[in-house]
Every structure is written in C-alpha cells, then in structure tokens.
C-alpha cells in the first residue's frame, strides 16, 4: 500500500487543545480519485484537509503521500505537490487577479529572483483553465463571490499540484456558480488526472459530482464509498439527526435525497425542544 501513489492515512489521531479532533482515521485515496468529505459542522472535515495538506501534524498515526511520509517532506516540496483552496480569501490590501494567481508560484520562487517565464506561464494557464483571462488586470477585492472562488482555485492550480484539496468550494455561491465550480473541478480531475478531495455540505451535489463520499461524524469515518453506500436514510438520520427520503434521480440514476415529511418537526415532539434551540 505504501507504494500506491495517492495519499494514505493510517490510524491517524489528532486532538486540538480544546479536545475536539479526529480519532483513528484510516483512509486511502488513490491517484486520480475524486472524493467528497461530508459530515456535520465540527465533524472534522477541515481538520482532515489540513492534515492532508501538512498544516497540522497527526498526534499519532502516519500520513504518506506518494509513498513518502508527509511530515518528512520539505515545505517547498509539499507546496509544489499539494494545494488547498480555502473557503474564502480576504486580502488586507488589493491585488489584481494576476497578482493573486501568481502567489500560487511562491513555492517555486527564489528569495532574490522574480517570477521567471515558467511562473508567468503557469499563472496564465491557471487563469485560462478557470476562465479568468479577461479579468486578469482587475482588482481581486472588486470581484463577485463566484469570480473570487475561481481566482482562489486558479492560485492553487498555479502551484501545479498533484493533489488538490478544497474546503467547501461551493459555500456562499449561488446555484449557477455552484454548478460551474463543481463542473470545473470535475473537469480538472477527469482531463488532467488531478486527485481531488473536497469537503462538501450539500449531499445531492456531492452525489452528482463525486464518485466517492467519505462521511465523518465526531471525528470518525462512519461511511466511505460510492454515493449509493453513503446517502442512505439510516446513515443520514444517524449522523445528521434528520429524517430523509432517498430515492433515485429519475434521469441520472444517482441517489437523491429530500426531507422526510416529519423532518421539519425535529424538535416539536421532544420535551427538551426549547432547551435545544436555546441552550
């Protein structure tokens, strides 16, 4: 397994000082896979991504990337191989789209030399892939949410990574931009073989765009597999505490979820209803 390209987590434990964390994560994500990480707020999705990025280090257990121990890789080597698209990016002062995308070349830059032709070309290619060429000279802070998200993606692509991590890339986007963003990510995965691991909130979009779903709950993996094996009424009820109906999408054949008739009455039958709403 260690020879298998991709990223592999073995018995990974991680605990924040507050006590939250991940416990006993065993995951193997092969090269070219397209994986969504699902789970309630606080279930450890972002933590898992940061561990895969090397920003956090496991308390115990090992993470290997392409057969190499992730913690043993140099920062530069890691940043050239693995890129992360954060939920949002706020800049303290304004930069143009091109300047932001060029920041993705940081792991390739020498302290005293400016970006070389290869860096400018990589940034250009990243902007082309994300349909940003016409916006290259515009200030980032004046862009719409959907455009900004594409700029952050382009910055990650300029790193020319082999593993792309995304933290809820469709959060705060409208329906059209959600679809555009996820289609773009899927295309990058299909046409370039880029390994994609993305945390997601929307179960139906995950079912639509990802071949493999990993469901986290309280820092543990509770389901892992194709959408059929994860998006099930019993699983969703157990993890999210919401009763849902799952049926097959009439045209696409993928599992599709909607709320059960009693889902809107989560608290009405409980005695601790007011306490749960106003803890």
């Amino acid at each position: 397994m260690a020879m298998n390209p991709g990223i592999h987590l073995q018995a990974v434990h991680f605990t924040y000082p507050s006590g939250f964390g991940l416990a006993g994560i065993d995951l193997s994500i092969g090269r070219g896979e397209r994986v969504a990480i699902l789970g309630p707020n606080g279930s450890g999705k972002t933590t898992l991504l940061k561990l895969m990025l090397g920003l956090l280090h496991p308390g115990s257990g090992t993470i290997s990337f392409e057969g190499e121990d992730l913690g043993g890789m140099s920062r530069m080597a890691r940043a050239r191989a693995i890129a992360m698209v954060p939920q949002e990016l706020l800049l303290p002062y304004s930069l143009t789209v091109r300047e932001v995308v060029l920041l993705g070349r940081t792991p390739y830059l020498h302290r005293y030399r400016g970006p070389a032709r290869v860096d400018l070309e990589a940034a250009q290619a990243a902007m082309a892939a994300t349909d940003l060429l016409s916006a290259a000279g515009r200030p980032y802070n004046e862009l719409s949410g959907g455009e900004r998200q594409r700029v952050i993606l382009a910055m990650a692509l300029a790193q020319q990574p082999r593993l792309l991590l995304l933290d809820e890339p469709t959060r705060s986007l409208d329906l059209n931009h959600q679809i555009r963003m996820l289609s773009l990510i899927r295309d990058l995965n299909v046409t370039r073989g880029l390994t994609v691991v993305s945390s997601m909130h929307d179960l139906n979009l995950s079912s639509l765009y990802f071949g493999r779903l990993i469901l986290l709950s309280s820092g543990r993996v509770v389901a892992d597999g194709p959408p059929d094996t994860v998006i099930r009424p019993d699983t969703i009820q157990e993890v999210f505490g919401v009763s849902v109906l799952v049926y097959r999408h009439p045209a696409l054949g993928i599992p599709w979820m909607t709320f059960a008739p009693d889902a809107g009455d989560l608290f009405s039958t409980r005695e601790d209803a007011s306490e749960a709403i106003n803890p």
């Binding site: 990016l89 303290p92 002062y93 304004s94 300047e99 792991p107 005293y112 200030p139």
Partner: protein
Amino acid sequence: MNTPFFRPRHPTPDTQPSAFRTYTILSVVLFLALFVGIMQGAVALSPLTVLNILLRAAGIALGPVTWQSADETILLELRLPRVLGGALVGAALATAGVLFQGLLRNPLADPYIIGTSAGAGFAATVAMLVLPPASILGFGSVALSAFVGGLLAVLLVYRLARVDGRCSPVTLLLAGVIVNAVLGYLGSLSILLFEGSEFRLRQVFTWLMGGIAVNDPRQLLAVGAIIVVGIIAAYGCAVSLNALTVGEEGAQALGVDLDREARRIIVLGALLTGAAVSVSGLIGFLGLAVPHILRLLVGSDHRRLLPTSALAGAALLVLADTAARSLAAPAELPVGIFTALLGGPIFLFLLRRNGRESGWR
C-alpha cells in the same frame, strides 16, 4: 464621487508605470533632494560652488578655489554627513514600515509599532539623565542606548507574544502596543524622579521629536552599513511578504516557513529602525506614510514596494530635514514636523485620487 481629475486608478501591472521609469524617476528625485540638501542651510551655497567643492573633494579640481575654506568645512564635514544620514534614516524607516505593515497585515503599523519607539525612547531618556556623554566608535551614549533599547524592547515584545512556539501577528501587535505604553510612562516617570532633570527636559523632548544628528563619520559608516545590508536583506523577504497577503495559513500552505520568516522580518525591521533611531531620534509619520504612498503608486507587490519605498523615504527625509534646518536658521525645527507637512498632503492627494480605494481593504 470621482471627478475625471481624481480618476480612481488602481496600480496594476497593466496600468502602472514600467519598473524602469519608476526607479529612474525616484532616483532622480533622490539625487536632486541630496543636492538641494547640501546646498541649502543656514549658509546657502550656489550649485556651482557645491559641485566644485564636491568634485575637488573627490580629487577632481576643475578651477580655482573661489570659496572660503569655512564653506568647504561646512559642506564636507557638516552637511554632507547629515544629508547622507538623513537619506539612510529615511530609507531605513520606510523599509521597516513596509516590513511591519506586510507582516502584521495592518495599515496602521509603522516601524515603531512593536516596541522600538518606547524602548529607544526610554533608554535614551535614561541615558540623557544619568550617563556621561561618552562616545564609543563615534556613537554617543544616547545614540547607543537608543539602539540597544529599541532592540531589547522588540525582543521583549517578541518573547511576550510567543505562545507555544508560535507568534501570531495580532498578539505581536497587542504586545507591542502594551510594551510601548508601559515603557513610555516609565520614561516619563524617570524624568519626574531624577533630581535636576528639568534642565534635561528640553533635550529629552527634542530627541523624542526627532532630528538628524551625525556627529562622527564613523557613526555614519556603522549605521550606513547596518541600513544598507538591512535593506538588501529586507528585499529577500518580498516573496514571503507577498505570500502573507493570503494570511498565515495560506502562506504556510504555499510553503512559507512562517516562524522563520516572521523572525527574520522582525529582526530586520528592528535593526533598521534601531539604526535609524540612533541617528535621528523618533521621527514619526514617515515610516507609516511612505509605504502607503508607494502602494498607491506602484501597487502592493513587495518586490517593487520595498525598493521604491526606500528611495522615496530617503528623498522625503532629506527634503524635510533641509526645510527643518533652513527655514528658521540658525535655529533648527524638529524634522518630524516637515515629514508630516511634506508627506501628509502627498498621501492625501493620492488617497483622494484613488477614490475609496486606499490599496487596503
């Protein structure tokens, strides 16, 4: 909101002037500032005389000596070191301003923000009150105390802000503000406590207001070496400072060793500021405003922002210092007044011209 005259302009690689043009203009401005600085003063000399004296000092005698030897002494031994000192101090403060604004991601950061001003001020005050005016390597006891005090205060702030081996910009900023306040009041207290210190009050006050004082060529050489090396090393932080635009975690994700780079930036900023303060006391405003002015002119890429700020800071301080020692000659006004009077309107003009876009969010 914007009349055509005050057209908002965002400096982008597409619209900003070429690097060559920017550097040429700034170099010419600095050169003219240096020349005017040497010409002007209590005794005004003609440009031709200045040129001849300078050339003669450089070993090129073009014509007969048509000036008094006192003029030559004033020019070579008083004005030249002072003007060069001013240029060095201005470049150092502007560079330190860019470093701290970039590291702390805060538009209000200036070279003094993480402790230098109060550390240097407190040490200099105590030195003026109790130390004999001895001199080591051309540094007076006040200058040396200011340099050491500034560095020690930054070290203290850094240690205070470091929690579990990590040092976040926000903690650094707060620790700096607190140490600045405490040391500032300790300085005031020491003035009150020392007997006979009323007589020193004016000296302390003048020092705190800032003023360039180069008493010895060796001092100029030592400070110059620190500042030139510091500015070159600061340029090497441009890549990390740019990466820091996307935040601490973002920069780390881009492969930046944040702890090491932050330490490097703090040390360089403190050295540059300390060296400047040892020559000039606390000159305000320049280190805050010059980076903003240049951000509006050349954009926020630190590979351009750092060198252009250094050149502009040098020119601004030389001009301000020239005004400070010429306008009320033979009396000398605090140079800080003129850095604000010269830099303030430039800053405001550019800010207005750019509409609401100050370059910062």
